[in-house]
Amino acid sequence: MPGTPLEKIRNIGITAHIDAGKTTTTERILYYTGVSHKIGEVHEGTTTTDYMEQERERGITITSAAVTCEWKGHRINIIDTPGHIDFNIEVNRSLRVLDGAIFIIEGVAGVQPQSETNWRLADRYNVPRIVFINKLDRVGADFFRAVESLREKLGIVPLPIQLPIGIEDRFQGVVDLVEMKAVIWEGGELGAKYHDAPIPEDLLEQAKEYRQLLLDTALSVDDAAMEEYFEHGDVSVATLKRCIKAGTLSGAFRPVLCGSAFKNKGVQPLLDAVVDYLPSPVDIPGIKVAAEEGEDEHAERRRIPADPNGPFAGLAFKIINDKYGSLTFVRVYRGTARTGDMLLNTTRGHKERIGRMFQMHADKRQEIKEVSAGDIVAFVGLKDTRTGDTLAAQEDPVVLERMAFPVPVIDISVEPKTKDSVEKMTIGLQKLAAEDPSLQLRTDPETGQTILSGMGELHLEIIIDRLKREYGVEANIGAPQVAYRETITRAHTETYTHKKQTGGAGQFAEVKITFEPLERNSGIVFENQVVGGAVPKEYVPAVEKGIRAQAETGVLAGFPTVDFKATLIDGKYHDVDSSALAFEIAAKACFREGMKKAGPIILEPIMDVEITTPQDHVGDVVGDLNRRRGMIQSQESAGSTVIIRAHVPLKEMFGYISDLRSMTKGRASFTMQFHHYDPVPRNIADEIMAKTA
């Protein structure tokens, strides 16, 4: 649908916990909107959006895929995202560029950890969202319990706009509370046929109660609608829909729908809800421009409105390399661009020419010649544009708000099986790291080994597999290592003089630097407070460079040092013997000396672990968690199973799945995700330091 008016475009994501049914729902959407003529199934490895070989083999989504479909005169661009926490970067960057989202919640388990994580991400980017409670055909499904879990675990106001008719194997359809009618599907096969019917007698009272709740909640966002209600005793469907959309956009409440995507029930009304309640690009405030250096990240800043006639502005949010070259996915926020146009990469300060552009449909592509505000497209031919960069027209070179990326928590060493593959491996890994900002690549300065850092064992396993399949490199990998960090616990000021005289021009630089601890996740902050030219301005960047470089190797055990501030407060220089290199060397040495006196400690990643176990194994599981230095956070019963939540150091979680299986005869399962960094206990710090000494 080229040339679709902006108000008829929906850019949405589908996100949830692993196995809640995101890909299955996406497949049904593609089928019912006429994009595909047969339904792909996750368990058969035939889905449209899971096109990578690894996705089809494992039945999981690894990379987010963009697809486009049409529903009732609207163009819906959908991004299906992975559920596994190891691939959270995909959810992160998708939510960053989407205007709305469908959150799928499992009807049996309710809100699960990854749903919570993704929900918080969507909060960060202010993404309006609707909730779809899926799998109501499953044994143990309970719509109302799932709604309650939304309130309890996410702290939101869930607003059911549908109620289920029947449950488990008797689930037949939904009560539409907006139009007060029943929607019944005739069978569960392809479900293409469904019809409206009066609300069943036994559900009428409950439907009236929930309709009242819907009116109470939805009308509270619109005074004119309240007046209409007072005057007529009810409101029109159009008014009610307007109020639901307003509340969805403001986040006052979250509309809740239900169904069973696998049984083909509830998908069409879900599409109606996308059109009715999720925003078009013009319904939401424009994207913010990035904060200037030193400016408060949360301050109100200029916004770029969705306008196809304005100067171009787009955000590169994903890069993939395939056999045809590098594809840069761009969300266009303003303006129009054509093939061959020259744009400015305002993040890096250079020009880029658009070679070709494509509308993507999972791994298939359709060439287009023009893109406008509201579109999500892939550009080919960009030379040096990375994830998070802004592309803009030269007449208004804005830099859009940047993206935040998660911190890698696991390291592995990797080396090619044959020596002649070294270069191929390096190129392959660099390309994979360029695609995936949650993957980091570095060389250990002491051993010379290539170290890959990622989000989890599965993440790194997939990377090694892709290296083999896509770049033809077989690699040996070391055992996974915890990505420890170092930091400091108190402030200290250190002075260091670098002086060298070996004939000819000498080297001289003196720096006085205060090192102070910062809050977790603050990274490294550098500030120059030198006055009166004690350190000439041209040497200050060299001091910062020296500190940042030396921080890669901490003073205790060589782990990267984070969460500290270094303030250059004084120094000395020599007219002839001072140089940038001399100041860099002085800063490095000052860091090494200063950090030792600033109470250095080692930090370890702590994981948020959720274990679902049968009642009779709770004692074993809790005892085992205690042995692993776990801190139990909560324990709640859900029928015959118990859900245990704990914070456990990642170090203690390697190989946990096999221990859990043997403890519970394979009946328990667990998920985990990074939660925070904590200091390691003294005895373990000593062990770590002894190993790295």
């Binding site: 009116l215 109470d216 909640t217 005793g233 009810d234």
Partner: protein
Amino acid sequence: MAGSLLHWMRGRCDEESATPRTLEWIGCNDAGEAIARVVRLQGPLETGWRRYQAVALDAEARLIQLRLPPPEGGDWLAYVGGRVVGRASLPLQAVRTAEAALRGRFRS
């Protein structure tokens, strides 16, 4: 509103917010006399030595009720004839609370 005893209309508005919202709904009888009100709790209010999180004001912006913590699920206050008859999290629910109180009064 179906079966309503009163005619409800907008009262005071929050003029300071970007999108002015009604802070008070007034229920009038057939003669146009104000019988009941539902009022949105606001705050914080500094009274020199104390900070109140939730404040309800009447039509003349006189204080009806002060509360220290924001009441859970009670953002709207219903009052009839100068007497608080209940609280609700949403204005329509508060209107029903006020009407229920009036019905009770008529019955007795």
